[in-house]
Symmetry: C4
Subunit: 392 residues, 4 copies
């Protein structure tokens, strides 16, 4: 085993993978992945909302073969996990998008390609045989957005997840201080930082500068925006609304998800419009600092929807047991972003596989120890003190 392989094998938790990634990556890149908006109150709140929930275990149930197989969007998944869309991943590892997607495919869970990925829609579809979803950012030019949707349809993506919580780029102060951008604009400080992380720098030199491959030529100003978030935000359409969603619903014939939902009334309205799945998210604490934690918003969304649509949740998942708690709170699956990217940053595809392996291993263990033979049988009563009848 190489030293890198040994490090991956020795990583016991997502926190371990994060530590390896922190050592390997220049600070600007690590903080771009790890950080949140403003005072990072929502970032911290997301984690706390999972941690403070406690399980009341059941015993004397045969858990010799706990099944975490489930159905997501009408098709089987080997575990209640989905890869969340992430842009700019190639800053962490060359072709990190492909690395993570291959790991997801191998693990039998869906992968969501970001509009702001550094791998094109078509390349991903050719390279990976697994379940692929496409995350759509609504660009200011309607024609550009339409083209993205058409490309995703043509490339065979089974689902479209339209993101509705990036009406503008979040105020990520760490990125503003670090001056991170894509394509990278190298200051003396960045060069120095790169020299201090030679394995990363060599990879970058060999691989060439990553680009937003799906939106080449579509962004208004190639160089604009002090941060990646700001540049993305400037190119998105903040006027996009319920009517536009209705049109998208009509245009896209396959499964449609809306990502970034928090309010029960919004959820109800989406369901009535034929949205297939709601993705409860606050963008990992990277957008509105002050947004409610995902795990707190989730049960009210579930109560509002009453089973008429599927529910995903992200933001704050770091342990396999979080997936069990999320299922108890009403989600069909949890989406993992940073967890997978820490893995890829620590060791490419092998690292991404390790991340998924850690989480599914922890979930399997949590199922055994909580008396859960089948992930589809989990109900809210598994959690201590969670109101079992809600509404909002």
């Amino acid at each position: 085993m190489s030293l890198a392989e040994q490090a991956l094998a020795g990583a016991l938790s997502i926190a371990d993978l994060r530590r390896i990634a922190r050592r390997r990556l220049p600070r600007a890149v690590f903080e771009f992945i790890d950080g949140g908006a403003e005072d990072e109150l929502t970032l911290a709140g997301n984690r706390r909302a999972f941690e403070r929930r406690r399980i009341v275990r059941r015993v004397l149930i045969d858990v010799s073969e706990p099944s975490m197989r489930t159905s997501l969007l009408g098709a089987p998944a080997a575990a209640p996990f989905v890869i969340a869309p992430m842009g700019s991943c190639a800053l962490a590892w060359p072709e990190a998008d492909l690395a993570i997607a291959r790991a997801a495919c191998a693990a039998g869970i869906p992968y969501t390609l970001s509009t702001m990925s550094t791998t094109s829609i078509e390349r991903m579809a050719k390279a990976v045989q697994g379940r692929l979803w496409f995350q759509l950012y609504v660009l200011r030019e309607q024609a550009s957005t339409d083209k993205l949707v058409e490309r995703a349809a043509a490339a065979g993506y089974e689902a479209l997840a339209v993101t509705v919580d990036l009406q503008a780029g979040g105020k990520r102060e760490r990125d503003l201080r670090n001056g991170i951008s894509l394509p990278p604009k190298m200051s003396a400080r960045h060069v120095l930082d790169g020299m201090l992380h030679p394995s990363w720098a060599l990879q970058m030199l060999r691989a060439g500068l990553p680009q937003f491959e799906n939106v080449r030529g579509l962004l208004g100003d190639e160089g604009a925006g002090p941060t990646i978030a700001a540049r993305v935000g400037q190119n998105l359409n903040p006027a996009w609304n319920w009517d536009d969603l209705a049109r998208l619903r009509d245009r896209w014939p396959r499964k449609l998800l809306v990502k970034g939902v928090e309010h029960p009334d919004d959820a109800r309205r989406m369901v009535s419009m034929g949205v297939d799945a709601l993705w409860v998210s606050n963008h990992g604490g990277r957008q509105l600092d002050g947004a409610i934690a995902s795990a707190d918003a989730l049960p009210r969304i579930a109560d509002a929807v009453g089973g008429k649509a599927e529910i995903l949740v992200d933001s704050g998942v770091r342990r396999g047991i979080d997936a069990l708690k999320a299922r108890a709170l009403g989600a069909g699956a949890v989406a993992i972003g940073r967890a997978a990217l820490f893995g890829a940053a620590a060791g490419g595809e092998a690292g991404a596989r390790r991340a998924i392996e850690i989480l599914t291993g922890e979930l399997a263990l949590a199922m055994k120890l909580s008396g859960t033979p089948d992930i589809d049988s989990v109900g809210r009563a598994l959690l201590d003190g969670e109101p079992t009848q809600g509404g909002d």
Copy 2:
């Protein structure tokens, strides 16, 4: 750009401006601005009361042009912000009052001149064309108080905000230890501290010692009081009461605000007396250490008033999103004190502009990200778990 301009431009948050101010100012001056009373429990509680409130975002609303224009005291304001009255500002920057007022004027928000300002009522009125309010401390001599009111009326101030929470000076232990006073009494320690902050010291030497310009000759004992707060407190009338407020209401023909309200019953009585606006405040945690946080008192005041008067709130505002939360809790605007003064201490008028720019920028972003196209449409339901029907 000069180094100072670069520092201002690099300030991303009010916390950054505070850091610049801390470096620039002698410790005694910085702590006079930054500190609170006794154990600073209320100071910390103010901030926590804003931070712990979480927003449940709405999506799919056109937020391409979020409007933060609003009406305050029957006249338009470009944003739901007001500059809170602050005394002794010239300790932080020469003519800081004017610097902040000009910045407020440029930003289209009202400015409140303190009775204890280092700029006179008349000079301010001549120098600045924007909306000006006058904050009234009730002096022990009724005639002196009357004269202040007459001067404010003659100078055209559109509103009078009478402060009712300084029955005595708060016990600000940092000031007592630092021995801060106005006009400054220079000890060896102060001289040394000044030498360690040469840019500040040079400014002070050039500008001359600041004075309480509005009350020259009115304070009982020019040298009394171990701290600024104590000296102010000794010169105010602790017997001033409801009858006096009624008389003031009769004498002052324009808008009348009462600043320092916390109790719903007090609020109701003021409304019944024709007070135009209630200013919920605990003086930034500088008076009664143990007072309820402003953001906790606010919704009960709003419930008690039921729309029959306008409401302002201060104490603890450090981020633009706090204004959104305050609106949701029932305030028409938030007043900012330290935030603006940190800006002025960091760079005079440019610094004050930067402070307002940061807060309005953050508010605009928070409005977009929370689905709030119009600040006047915000209701309590925006906040997680806030009781929507109250009373007290």
Copy 3:
């Protein structure tokens, strides 16, 4: 002014006096005063219970002459403070009992002499002209206890406060580690510690070793017990019960207080037996670690008693505003122990005066700032969120 006088004058708070005392005293003595039982959970909880309560201020009330005069046990007190009984005080300052009693007398508040004081009942009565109460520990020998009661009666003490929460000495681990005892048994470590605190050591040498003056010859074994608390506990009667209290009530013709009450049912029963005042206390967190905070027990005791007896409270008072909160919660006065002793340890009688001056000054200020012209008019509504109707 001497250096010591300057230090006292510079002390702004009880925390400052505590710091001076910590510097002056050998560690074993300081920790004996400052510490609590076991993990000091109750010690910390006492303080937190005061700090977390918040006041909703009233305004526009004439507070030019706030009156903190009140009635305690049917006689006037200049302020709602009482000195709590403390044993072994002479370890901190020679004749600290007298120093504190004189300071209390000067301030017009009652002083409670401990059974375990280092000044005799008679000497105190002759030396001090103020209101004197005697705190009674029930010794194992009934005759010894009777004798104490008779001596207190003969010496003219106006009230007897029988302590009921020292069925055994608390497990004060700091004392066990430090090996503190009375009369002091000097180990090499103690001698070294004394040499490192020469002003204290010189005082002790001059004054001679302090003794438990009230119980000379009454304690079973002069040298027993690894700590002061243990030795005291071993000599008290853990069988003392309701019947004994009834007999004491019959024997003592003046005011009778019971100190160490926490449970509403106990309080009701005492009232029905003719006890004049209940003293809510957990012995400053020095006895049962895990006992409810005094400020949490207080309102339920007040509800149970319904005005049929007076109520005192101690444990955790460090600021003047705590007395205001305690009044709002139903107490007639707060008893201060460590606060006064920190003062005496810092500077004898002058230090004790300074402690009382700080607390009464802070209370007067808190009354002004909360709109409280008269301490006797304070009700529970002054506090945020405190249930105004209780019971238990």
Copy 4:
């Protein structure tokens, strides 16, 4: 007294014994005992759940001879304590099982031998005359399990406690990093660690490598599993269920306990099946990280059972007062694991005696100070704010 005896005598609390153990043991061994699963959230929660509960003391009750004698499983115990089963104890001290059992016997409390003990069922029964219970892990081979039960019956164990919360080994990351196993597999790091702890290393060399004496030859693969927990988990039967429990109930004629219960519905069902006692436990935070604290699960179990079975509780007990709180919450006794083993690690049998002595001494004191003359009279009303009528 030897130095070791002095250290034991100087240990005032379980925390002190833990400190001695930490110094004496190699890090891998200490952390195996001290640590919990994953992020140790449940480990910390267990302690906090005891600490945050507060007692409302009663006074004026004769507590001169507090009786902590009670009945457990129909036979007398000198105190409401039981030794919890612990495997691999000989890593801490040679024959630690016997040391702890002898200490328990001397103290008049039951001892529970672990299936994974390093002392055989028969040897323990011969060596110790006290009350012995046997803790049963259900092995994958039914015949092996049956044999264990038969051996326990033949050896005269009065009760069988079947553990139901180890469906798999918990994810104890400290152990995974330290590479602890039984029998020990010595890496260079372990040898070095041993050399740094010579008194421990010498003991081990003299005593020989400890083995799982009860399951010699029964474990599937002598070398399997990266940690002790993993190896144990791999050899247990995760399919063991309610039917199996019913069969065990039929086969075992004496008292049957189920250890690891948290859910009230599980508790009710066990009671209906004739289980004699429920042992509320989350395995000391070593299994499911995210499980509810034992002291939080306890009162609901008590409400569900309604007195139809006895209840034990473990996980988080570190002070004698915890036993009083556990009694108030509905348990008949608390089981102590780490507390006793820290004692044994600090000084063998004398250390284990010291641990029990500390806890019973603290409990006696807590009983006196809370007005509890008889442990059997404790009710839930002793605790502040604990709902006295429950259910689940």
